[in-house]
Amino acid sequence: MGRKLDPTKKEKRGPGRKARKQKGAETELARFLPADADESSKRLSSRARKRAAKRRLGSAEGLKSNKSPGAKPLPGKLPKGAVQTQVSGKKGASPVRAVGYGGKRPAPSPSSDEDEEEEDSEGGVVSQGLLWGSEDSEADMVDDYGANSRSEGEEDGGEELLPIERAARKQKAQETDLGSLWSEEETDEEEGAPSAEPGPTKDDEQEGELQINVDEEEPFLLPPAGEAEQGAQAADLQRVHKRIQDIVGVLRDFGKQREEGRSRSEYLSRLQKDLAAYYSYGDFLLGKLMDLFPLSELVEFLEANEVPRPITLRANTLKTRRRDLAQALINRGVNLDPLGKWSKTGLVVYDSSVPIGATPEYLAGHYMLQGASSMLPVMALAPQEHERILDMCCAPGGKTSYIAQLMKNTGVILANDANAERLKSVVGNLHRLGVTNAVLSHYDGRQFPKVAGGFDRVLLDAPCSGTGVISKDPAVKTNKDEKDIQRCAHLQKELLLSAIDSVNATSKTGGYLVYCTCSVMVEENEWVVDYALKKRNVRLVPTGLDFGQEGFTRFRERRFHPTLRSTRRFYPHTHNMDGFFIAKFKKFSNSIPQSQPAPGDSAAAAPATVALPALNGQATPKAENSSEPAKRARVAGKAKQKQKHPKKASFQKQNGISKRTDSELPTVPSVTKAQASSQLQNSGPPAENAHLTREPRAPGKLTQRSPKPRAPKKGAGRKQNAPAMGSDPQTPAWLSSKTQAAPNSEDQGQPPERARGAEQRKQPVPRPSLKKAAFRNQNGTPKGPQSPLMHPRSPSRPPPAKRRKWLPRGSRQPPPEADS
């Protein structure tokens, strides 16, 4: 009780507040404490110190506090002094604000800087020079708590003219001698070099200060690589903030505003250091963010991470309706609104007089506290009733329960998580929300297809580095580095492959997988998705979310598959929800492509068109296969042909077939059943038929693939085209027609190769990546042998243990290259 001197400034109390450090009387007493204590505890500008000195000397002014930004005018001071006072008043204020600086930035600083500048201009050159100079010198040496060695040293001296002032004057004289511009405040000591501006009129500079800061990069002398200034600068957040703004301004118009002799990268590195200091980020993470965002967005992103996102909740439609729930909560004193047009069950809470997590409605399971961005992947997944769904990383159970409510408690959900502690929260949440169709397990997600597979839909909310939810967990700013990101990415790739393998591509209503992370890093998002596209028979489909930024198809030196445009990114500063990434896959074949040689892909891609014919060629051999189970339809058919390699392999060496598409073509007919030949010939529709015929792979060989409607083209699938090729039985020919030129070409090139390779290797199901290509080829121009490219490649691959038919069989293998 005794500490409270000012009833209007009560510390807010409430649950959990005691745990916070009590600022104590100093905050409440700040206004009344003697200036000395005040100043010593805060970083004062030189002006403020001077004023303090004057006060101590007994000046009678009522200069209350450094805090008041109003800048008390010092009576009787020279204009300079006046200026200084005002300036220091402002600056004094900043240090006060800076006291609590664990990363909070003093908002008024820019304005105060501006004011200072204006005042300076009034004050004249001298004062200005002094102002900046002394400020700089002073500021450099001051740390948060005023342990200002220099000032202390200097204060010994005179009263009227502090040593610092003397030094500043001297410096000023030097500056004018040199004719150098007074450098920007922070650059004085640190950067040392005079600004590039012409010395003549500091006044002009001053007046144009605002403009200057905007127009010209005040000698930001990007301090030569991180020197001691770092320490000094870290202390002065205001200056850092100002410098950030200046640098961003310069970089925006670099041509005009740059400083001579300074490269862009210097500015950028300076900016990176400043941002890291200002927002308390580690250098690594900030570097990554700088790569990711344009500068203007970067600052917004960083700012948004300092502020928590609004609380959102999701009404549990198993037990209530959104409007009933809203009504009930409003009656309890919660201020809320529907979340947006895109959500039918979301509510956003503006403020609440009762704890949101403890209302009777919450306990009765009428709603769940869930971030807005966490509702999106489930909306993208769109689970239907009576489906089998797998949620691989379900804790704490928000998405799982949303899935259950969309399914209306029908079907089955297998909710899995690798962390036993967090699983308990899932149990609690699911029971509370009345979810009855869930089974919870505690497996490592990578074990998945073995434990249980054949799910209609899978949701994988992969563990990530958490760079999108920095506002929830600020520790991410500093404790993430390259290794963490790589580790996360590696784990995510493994999980994603397992998840893909757990999806049943032939599911009547499904075959979808949603991969999402709460991260904004490209390594964890687009890269992982691209990897999966290469490795499995999946393709990306639109998520169904009509807002959000599209995923990257290229990033720095990496190039991703063009369908990555259908993925979605969400950012805290643009959408006001946690950073998120969502990708929706459709699996078109249950076969797993054999790993193909990477270089082949690109090569294969080139001769895509050629490949098509090649496909045809291969198709023929495949046709044989297909003849057996001719189920594959459409585009896949072509691919299947290739894939039928396994079967074909039995007939002919897989190598031979795969490689020589051309050769195969001719041979195939002979070899394969009539269908093959028919397939070969048919160009359009026949392709489909061929598919059909082809579908039934050779019984022996294509065990893996047989049932799958789409013959995954091994090679093709791998490539990136997995999506295109696709082959869902459900996606009929239009798929093929929808070609993606690039993928197709790739497919074609690749599939032939791959198909061959695959076949050779094993009866593995050839990925029908080529499907599309193949199909098209067939439809369009039966080109003949698969791209010759493939041929060369296949031989390079070691033949599968099983089928070692490297030797081209007679006719079958005419030199592949010769084909096309």
Binding site: L363, A364, T410, L423, T436, A438, V439, A452
Partner: protein, 173 residues
């Protein structure tokens, strides 16, 4: 995960019968399929057969929960019913107690319900009868024994609080 033994089934059904009487059969044969009880790690789970199929693929040490947990068997093989079973028992409850809005909040946070907090109550509820407590809006809140000095159920999810009723006299309401 295994089905319940005879003994366990008997014990459990006795407990359930306190609240829902003879309606036990309704629990097993439901319109949307057959449900059954399974025991896993001393907890009894109420699952439909469809879910059971998937759950049987999961090895016992990795299975955490399935369907709805009705309660658990204590070390001395008594059956303790959990609040998570509320949704299933409430529709078949024989004796119900409605409490006033004012008392609802305190009840939820674990306090006893005084007689003044009672809104309605089913007729002929005898003392020590197991009842299901509803709010005035007919939301089942919990179950307990009238005048029982022991808790009958707990909030399993977030708070574990005993709910008692006290000062309720008279079996005649």
């Amino acid at each position: 995960m295994r089905p319940l033994t005879e003994e366990e089934t008997r014990v459990m059904f006795e407990k359930l019968a306190k609240y829902i009487g003879e309606n036990l059969q309704l629990l097993v044969d439901r319109p949307d399929g057959t449900y059954c009880f399974r025991l896993h790690n001393d907890r009894v789970y109420y699952v439909s057969e469809k879910i059971l199929k998937l759950a049987s693929n999961i090895s016992g040490d990795k299975l955490v929960s399935l369907g709805t947990c009705f309660g658990k068997f204590t070390k001395t093989h008594k059956f303790r019913l959990h609040v998570t079973a509320l949704d299933y028992l409430a529709p078949y409850a024989k004796y119900k107690v409605w409490i006033k809005p004012g008392a609802e909040q305190s009840f939820l946070y674990g306090n006893h319900v005084l007689k003044s907090g009672l809104g309605r109550i089913t007729e002929n509820t005898s003392q020590y009868q197991g009842v299901v407590v509803y709010s005035m809006a007919d939301i089942p809140l919990d179950y307990f024994h009238l005048l029982s000095s022991q808790l009958t159920t707990v909030f399993r999810t977030r708070l574990i609080k005993p709910c008692f009723i006290s000062c309720y006299n008279s079996s005649k309401k």
